[in-house]
């Protein structure tokens, strides 16, 4: 029965003037209730929620899909996108650990090792971006944007791979480059 009274209670609560104690011009004199950003007490008793109603991620346009009696539709699964993908992702991440520590120990890497480092970073980044794209652009919500993002991810691998190949060939390489820029203008410049 309370639900029937709510509209009346809300109207009454909004009609009442807000308390002068909570709306002082001087912040020091404002009550704790002001800082908790709660509605006035009468409004709290009348509404469903007292915390902020800011619409973070509001509900999307709704659609009725099938009935409650329809069986769950499972997405198709292949080990290349499931089990093997998981293992490969962990292998790449683990391989990145020693190859990242090595330059700090040895100064910089040989071009072969440096190239491997760049390759592993690109593969690791591709997998990472793949997960982020799948999370934020679901097919059921933005099918074309998702497809475009997935292909942009692939294109980026080609462009970035080519770019870093040129850098490795024409310049000093990733680890040596970072070392030189990092130590630029310092007393340690020119030393390992």
């Amino acid at each position: 029965m309370a639900f029937a009274l709510r509209p009346t209670l809300i109207r009454q609560a909004l009609a009442m003037p807000s308390s002068r104690l909570t709306t002082s011009a001087i912040p020091a004199l404002r009550t704790q209730q002001y800082f908790l950003r709660r509605a006035p007490l009468a409004l709290q008793q009348a509404t469903f929620q007292t915390s902020s109603k800011r619409a973070i991620l509001p509900p999307l346009p709704q659609r009725m899909e099938g009935t409650v009696n329809d069986a769950v539709r499972l997405p198709p699964s292949e080990p290349s996108h499931g089990n093997y993908h998981w293992t490969f992702e962990r292998l790449v991440s683990a391989a990145l650990l020693p190859i990242t520590v090595a330059p700090f120990a040895a100064g910089s890497l040989s071009p072969l090792l440096d190239g491997t480092f760049i390759g592993l970073i690109i593969v690791h980044s591709f997998i990472g971006f793949q997960s982020a794209i799948a999370d934020y652009f679901p097919k059921w919500r933005v099918p074309y944007l998702r497809k475009a993002a997935d292909w942009a991810n692939v294109l980026a691998v080609v462009v970035v791979g080519w770019g870093w190949y040129e850098f490795e060939t024409n310049d000093v390489g990733l680890t040596e480059g970072v070392r030189r820029i990092w130590k630029a203008g310092s007393k340690a410049e020119g030393t390992i």
Partner: protein, 149 residues
């Protein structure tokens, strides 16, 4: 009497279902993100993705820019970049190095934490919180050390 509504007849009954679908948007939304307690679990998880995207984004942007630099008149060779960076005031140099090192060290240490979980160790709540704070400490200390390298 008529049989229970099937999927087909529900779709045919679009007027009713569309009213129901629209009415859902009039209902109050329960608070979610605005009341979720701040915890090291999801803060570090979000930070892992953010730092990963920042690092990879920067790596990708440099790779692509180096490829097109000659056609837009830019010079991105290490000699040029090192000479330009050397001219920065010392405070800005150290500050920039801290800002670049922080995402790198955090993502690396938290990555190790993730790989440990993949061996199914340190996965109870207490350990997750402890390792989380350890990663935060290691991140800050190593980033500052790297900045003064």
């Amino acid at each position: 009497m008529s049989s229970a509504p099937s999927a087909e007849s529900m779709r045919e009954n679009d007027a009713g279902t569309s009213i129901l679908a629209r009415q859902r948007l009039n209902r109050p939304v329960a608070p979610h993100l605005m009341i979720y307690k701040a915890q090291i679990t999801w803060y570090l998880s979000g930070l892992n993705r953010i730092t990963g995207c920042l690092l990879s984004g920067g790596f990708y942007v440099f790779g692509a820019l180096y490829l097109v630099a000659p056609y837009i008149g830019w010079h991105l060779e290490t000699a040029v970049l090192a000479a330009a960076f050397a001219k920065w005031p010392a405070v800005l140099k150290v500050g920039a190095k801290v800002l670049v090192a922080l995402p790198f060290t955090f993502h690396s240490f938290n990555g190790v934490r993730h790989l440990t979980w993949d061996t199914a160790s340190l996965i109870d709540n207490k350990k997750v919180v402890q390792t989380g704070w350890t990663v935060v400490g290691l991140t800050v200390v190593s980033a500052v050390l790297l900045a003064f390298l």
